[in-house]
């Protein structure tokens, strides 16, 4: 009695206690793997390091199923002992069984006579409790052993799946470390995140629940079938009829419900998207007088979702009664045929009872296998997404014979550098630039002019297509990426801080910094005072919301980080107007200090920075359109002059 009971729901074991069985069908209806077989094979191959344990699990599973399958047969035997006793009491003692049978025949009760003849009745004697006791003890032992093996099996399986998933997660994360920046820029962040987390979780769940269940189900079906045939081939034949019937019904219903579930998830997506948009744009919706439209659209999505989810729910709800109906049909057939056969003495009562139990055991795993195959579909789709990530082409490995840079002076030279993100769109062509140690290069241009491209090339986030970039005369491709990047300090406006204390965030990149050094960096970055106003000072935790730390203050912290790292070359991003004026002043002061004595590339917004720069690079539409000093560029009366005037001069000239 593995799953027990009439119409027992399948997925009771789902850890996470999610809304188990009904959703099993539902959740996964929309995602379909592209190449089911290949991906399943690959997923199974990830289990290879555990193959010895899996073999053991299989053996345990077989043993446990064998025990469970023999159970009803032994129970049937025990019932026979009981039945014999009951019959035996009805025949007076002293009469032999043969005499009793003959007597019955004489009275024309041939049927009962046949039945009696087939039993092991001892006339006059009641139930043989010795024999029954032995049978009961055997049963108890059998069931206990079966449970023990089942437990051992799923205990070991937990280890197998969790370790496998651990490895999968680790591989995915390490892969992230080897992917080129272009992958991250080209892919939505949410999508990558979801591959590493949600998809792997999904695989974990399925492996945990379904693999064991699938194994047990298949084994049980085979075992039960064998037992049924040994008891009564005729009844087994009748029961087998139920198989195509149940499968046919399941497939028919599932096909229809799949379609409805797909519609349900589509409409859920649409509706949730609408809710998200309207709640997010709450005030805009109001002030533009669109509330009624918002409600109308909501109602129409909501209505369609209702229709779809109702159909999905109803149709999938038919599976249960259909299965029950078929199972009961089967039950009646067995009872009737079995009854006739017992009455005619061709079968014992215990065998009929055993058979009824077997037929119950038989349909359950069939239904389970059907529903597991659904869950598997979704897991395989997830696995495919993870494998896709794992198969992405990686960054070109570092050169095998790297040169050493040591403490760089900071001479940076671009020689005939060409670069394009997309092969068909030229971006940077034959760029030449020579920066002496300690010089400042201002990069200016309108919003979205692609000022970060230069950062990407300098840091080797992207590889140039032609020419070369050298630092102190060494081609940056002849350095390891790590060595190159240690030479650069980077302070971006979109300040990146991780979940952790302010102290740890400043120390990012300098593991062995002392507290004193960190304090010094904070002071240099003008952020010490601010940190001290926080209740926990340097131990303040920064989290996602980080409501206590403004955008500008975050940038100050990253400046402190750069101070601590003390790199010979800097890449800076000046603060724009989203930072309030006082903080902006602090940032400016900190940056000026930081730039002293270092080669600096500054994405500049401030006139004074641009004025003082040794070279100005003017960018537009991703390209460097002009290059020179402030005076040179103004004299050229080109793009820069135009930009300069509109940006800084105009408001003064025509002050209203």
């Amino acid at each position: 009695m593995r799953a027990g009971g009439p119409g027992g729901p399948g997925g009771q074991r789902r850890p996470g206690g999610g809304p188990g069985m009904m959703m099993g069908f539902a959740m996964n209806a929309t995602v379909k793997p592209k190449n089911f077989r290949a991906s399943l094979g690959r997923l199974l191959r990830t289990l290879r390091p555990e193959r010895r344990l899996i073999a053991l699990v299989l053996v345990l599973g077989v043993v446990s199923v064998v025990f469970a399958v023999i159970g009803p047969k032994l129970l049937g035997n025990a019932t026979n002992i009981l039945f014999d006793g009951v019959l035996g009491k009805q025949i007076p003692a002293g009469v032999t069984k043969d005499q009793a049978v003959a007597g019955l025949r004489a009275r024309g009760q041939d049927q009962i006579a046949d039945m009696l003849a087939s039993t092991h009745v001892v006339p006059g004697q009641g139930v043989d409790f010795n024999a029954l006791g032995a049978a009961v003890m055997l049963l108890i032992g059998l069931y206990l052993l079966s449970a023990l093996f089942a437990w051992a099996q799923s205990y070991l399986m937990a280890g197998v799946t969790q370790r496998t998933v651990y490895r999968l997660r680790r591989d995915a994360d390490e892969k992230l470390g080897r992917l080129p920046l272009s992958y991250f820029d080209g892919q939505s962040r949410g999508d990558i995140l979801s591959r590493v987390t949600n998809d792997i979780d999904n695989i974990a769940q399925t492996l945990q629940q379904s693999l064991t269940q699938l194994m047990i189900s298949v084994l049980t079906v085979v075992g039960v079938l064998i037992m049924m045939f040994t008891i009564s081939p005729i009844l087994a034949g009748v029961s087998l009829l139920a198989v195509p019937l149940s499968l046919g019904a399941t497939v028919m219903i599932a096909k229809r419900s799949q379609k409805q579930f797909a519609a349900q998830w589509k409409h859920t997506g649409l509706l949730n998207g609408h809710i998200e948009e309207m709640h997010t744009g709450h005030s805009i919706v109001k002030v533009f007088g669109r509330q009624q439209d918002a409600i109308d659209t909501f109602d129409s999505h909501n209505g369609r979702l209702y229709q779809a989810s109702f159909s999905a729910q109803f149709i999938s709800g038919l599976i249960q009664p259909a299965m029950q109906f078929i199972a009961n049909l089967n039950y009646v057939a067995i009872a009737v045929i079995g009854g006739i056969r017992v009455a005619t003495g061709t079968m014992s009562l215990g065998d009929v009872l055993a058979f009824i139990q077997y037929s119950r055991q038989f349909t359950m795993p069939l239904i389970q296998t059907a529903s597991i195959s659904n869950v598997m579909q979704s897991a395989i789709a997830s696995a495919e997404r993870v494998f896709e990530l794992l198969d992405e082409p990686e960054e070109r490995p570092d050169t095998a014979t790297p040169q050493r840079l040591g403490q760089a002076a900071g001479r940076v030279v671009f020689e005939d550098v060409s670069f394009r993100y997309k092969p068909e769109t030229p971006l940077i062509e034959n760029m030449n630039l020579s920066v002496e140690p300690g010089q400042t290069i201002a990069i200016v241009g309108p919003t979205g002019a692609g000022k970060t491209t230069l950062v990407n090339l300098l840091m080797r986030f992207y590889e140039i297509d032609a020419g070369r970039i050298t630092v102190d005369g060494i081609d940056i491709r002849d350095l390891t990426r790590d060595e190159l990047r240690r030479t650069f300090g980077m302070v971006l406006q979109d300040a990146w801080l991780f979940n952790g204390t302010i102290h740890d965030n400043i120390a990012y990149g300098a593991d062995h910094a002392t507290d004193e050094q960190i304090l010094e960096a904070a002071r240099a970055a003008q952020v010490d005072h601010f940190v001290r106003t926080l209740p926990d000072g340097y131990q303040t935790m920064l989290d996602d919301e980080a409501t206590n730390v403004s955008q500008g203050e975050r940038q100050l912290l990253t400046i402190a980080r750069a101070f601590l790292a003390d790199p010979p070359i800097l890449i800076l991003d000046e603060a724009t107007s989203s930072v309030d004026t006082r903080t902006e002043m602090l940032i400016q002061r900190a940056m000026t200090t930081l730039m002293r004595g270092r080669t600096s590339f500054v994405i500049a917004h401030r006139l004074s920075t641009i004025h003082d720069a040794d070279v100005i690079l003017v960018m537009d539409h991703g390209r460097i359109v002009e290059q020179g000093t402030h005076d040179e560029l103004l004299a050229r009366r080109g793009f820069y002059a135009d930009l300069y005037e509109s940006q800084f001069a105009e408001p003064m000239l025509e002050a209203v």
Binding site: H282, P321, N328, A655
Partner: protein, 576 residues
């Protein structure tokens, strides 16, 4: 939760009664089958009465048909009730949120409102689905099974006194241990998500600082931690099925042994014994379902509570009972000694704010972050209501106007330019559905939105949710164009030029000045260049007005203003 269910299931009272009735029929049928089977054995098989077997078999089939029929009809109405409930509840929450002012939106937080409107409703709905499937049939099975078992043989039923508590105990023990583990596991999954999210968003920094290895270690720690907990949970759960199976099986064996004693003593016919076995299994099954339900209730209750909170919140801003007719005048906006404080806050955000903004003029509001600039304009649109003083349009307090009347005359460009799924055109027509294509192009020309011509499809170019497929600057320009298309009498630009480079900003403002010559314009800005030409500049500091005047005036009279200007412009320009 009970309130919520009562209220939103009320319309489905009749259907619900029908479903419960049908479930009852199903359970009875289910319980009756073993009895019939017992009869077949007692009266048919044992007595060799084939006729009886046939007759009882026919009855059994009939019962089966009734059962299946009840199940199908029950599934139909059950689905109607559960999904209808979900639909109604979702709709109620959505409509409720529409009545909220910014105070309530802030109180819950937008993400939370979204979750409550979607996930939480879904959870409660799922609960009803499960409840209809299990909660009702579990007790019927358990109680019905007990009654039937008692009918078969009373002394033998005494077994149940041992088995049921034992089963409840086993399930209870495992589940109570598992729940805290599950919670811990969820936290650890969150932790993994966090680490990956950070690595993804900071990929440039991680690589620039050569921290890939350390980040991998951080991930590995989280991964190990999660794996350990997941292992514990799953190992705990690996006990569940074997334990339940063994209890069921041993019950069967016990029934066999004690039953044999009763049968041998002639106290019980043998057919009853087989039926008894089946009833025991049904009872245990009922107990199992019941326990699972118990685990589900707290989760659903949490969701229901969160939904209920939204439904019970009272919007703090509402239309007046007797609204004034909207003034048809010059659209003079006046702040009269306005004070505003957030509910429960000690200090007001704004106080003593008095100034006028006149048609044909631009009134700018400047000040450092947190000085209350955005709050100030939100009082005009009644996203918040003042807590002291009044905001008036042409002498009428905005609180005495219907909000739709008020909003129809105001065009807002918010700090965060938000676009909606659709096309460029559908976004631009947001405030005036009847606007012609020429109107749209004209607005785009003013808002420096010519880039639309280069988008595939032009005005029909797709805009994805939130407008994420256009850049921040483009989004702002489209948001400005959207407000222009509406042609309101009052414009509010709430830091709407921040994502533009200064060149575009200047061009846009020049075009804007010509377009909205007769309108009342309020501009909130951080960048001084944006507001220097304004007719009137209101300087805020810590919620108070510290200066009002034109740029040249303020340069002389207002120290705060001078500080702001000097910090943004190099000395030469200021003097120019």
């Amino acid at each position: 939760m009970v309130d919520l269910l009562k209220r939103y299931l009320a319309p489905y009272r009749r259907e619900l009664a029908l479903v419960i009735g049908l479930l009852f029929v199903q359970s009875i049928a289910n319980l009756y089958l073993p009895e019939l089977n017992a009869n077949i054995i007692n009266n048919g098989v044992v007595r060799g009465d084939l006729d009886y077997i046939w007759r009882a078999g026919a009855v059994m089939l009939l019962v089966t048909v009734v059962f299946a029929g009840a199940s199908v009809v029950g599934a139909y109405w059950g689905a109607r009730v559960a999904m209808g409930f979900g639909r109604d509840l979702r709709s109620a929450v959505f409509r409720k949120v529409q009545t909220f002012s910014q105070v309530e939106v802030n109180h819950f937080g937008t993400p939370s409102l979204i979750t409550r409107n979607t996930n939480d409703v879904q959870q409660v709905q799922q609960f009803i689905v499960m409840a209809l499937a299990m909660m009702i049939s579990a007790p019927i099975l358990a109680i019905g099974g007990t009654i039937m078992a008692l009918r078969q043989d009373v002394p033998l039923s005494a077994m149940l006194l041992v088995i049921i508590p034992l089963m409840g105990l086993v399930i209870g023990l495992i589940i109570t241990r598992a729940i805290p583990q599950f919670q811990a596991m969820q936290l650890k999954i969150d932790r993994i998500n966090l680490v990956v999210r950070e690595v993804l968003s900071g990929v440039r920094v991680v690589r620039a600082f050569v921290r890939t290895r350390q980040e991998e270690r951080r991930f590995d720690d989280a991964n190990r931690d999660l794996t350990a907990t997941a292992l514990r949970v799953n190992r705990l759960f690996s006990l569940m099925m074997p334990a339940l199976t063994v209890i069921m099986n041993l019950s069967t064996v016990a029934a066999l042994w004690f039953g044999a004693i009763r049968v041998d003593g002639g106290a019980m016919p043998i057919g009853n014994f087989t039926a008894f076995l089946q009833y025991i299994i049904q009872i245990l099954f009922g107990v199992m379902m019941g326990t699972v339900m118990f685990v589900m209730v707290p989760r659903a209750a949490v969701s229901a509570g969160r939904v209920q909170e939204v439904l019970q919140a009272e919007p703090s801003v509402s239309d007046p009972a007797v609204p004034q007719a909207p003034p048809r005048g010059q659209e003079v906006v006046e702040f009269r000694d306005v004070e505003f404080r957030y509910p429960g806050a000690e200090e007001p955000v704004l106080r003593g704010i008095s100034f006028e903004a006149r048609p044909g003029e631009t009134t700018a509001i400047v000040g450092s972050t947190g000085s209350g600039k955005s709050t100030l304009v939100n009082l005009l649109t009644r996203f918040y209501d003042v807590t002291g003083g009044a905001v008036l349009i042409d002498g009428v307090d905005v609180r005495e106007l219907r909000r739709d009347d008020l909003w129809s005359r105001i065009g807002v460009v918010a700090q965060r330019a938000l676009l909606f799924t659709g096309t460029v055109a559908s976004n631009l027509r947001f405030g005036r559905g009847s606007a012609s294509d020429e109107d749209l192009w004209r607005a785009l020309a003013i808002a420096q939105g010519e880039f639309v011509r280069d988008m595939p499809g032009g005005l029909d170019a797709e805009i994805s949710q939130g407008g994420t497929n256009v850049s921040g600057g483009q989004r702002q320009r489209l948001a400005i164009a959207r407000a222009l298309v509406k042609r309101p009498e009052v414009y509010i630009f709430d830091d709407s030029f921040s994502a533009l480079d200064v060149k575009t900003d200047a061009k846009l403002r020049a075009a804007l000045r010509r377009e909205v010559a007769s309108a009342t314009v309020l501009v909130v800005a951080q960048r001084v260049a944006t507001i220097m030409q304004a007719d009137r500049i209101v300087v805020l500091d810590a919620g108070r007005i510290v200066g009002i005047g034109t740029h040249p005036e303020l340069m002389i009279t207002c120290a705060t203003y001078r500080e702001i200007v000097e910090s943004q412009l190099a000395g030469t320009e200021v003097a120019a």
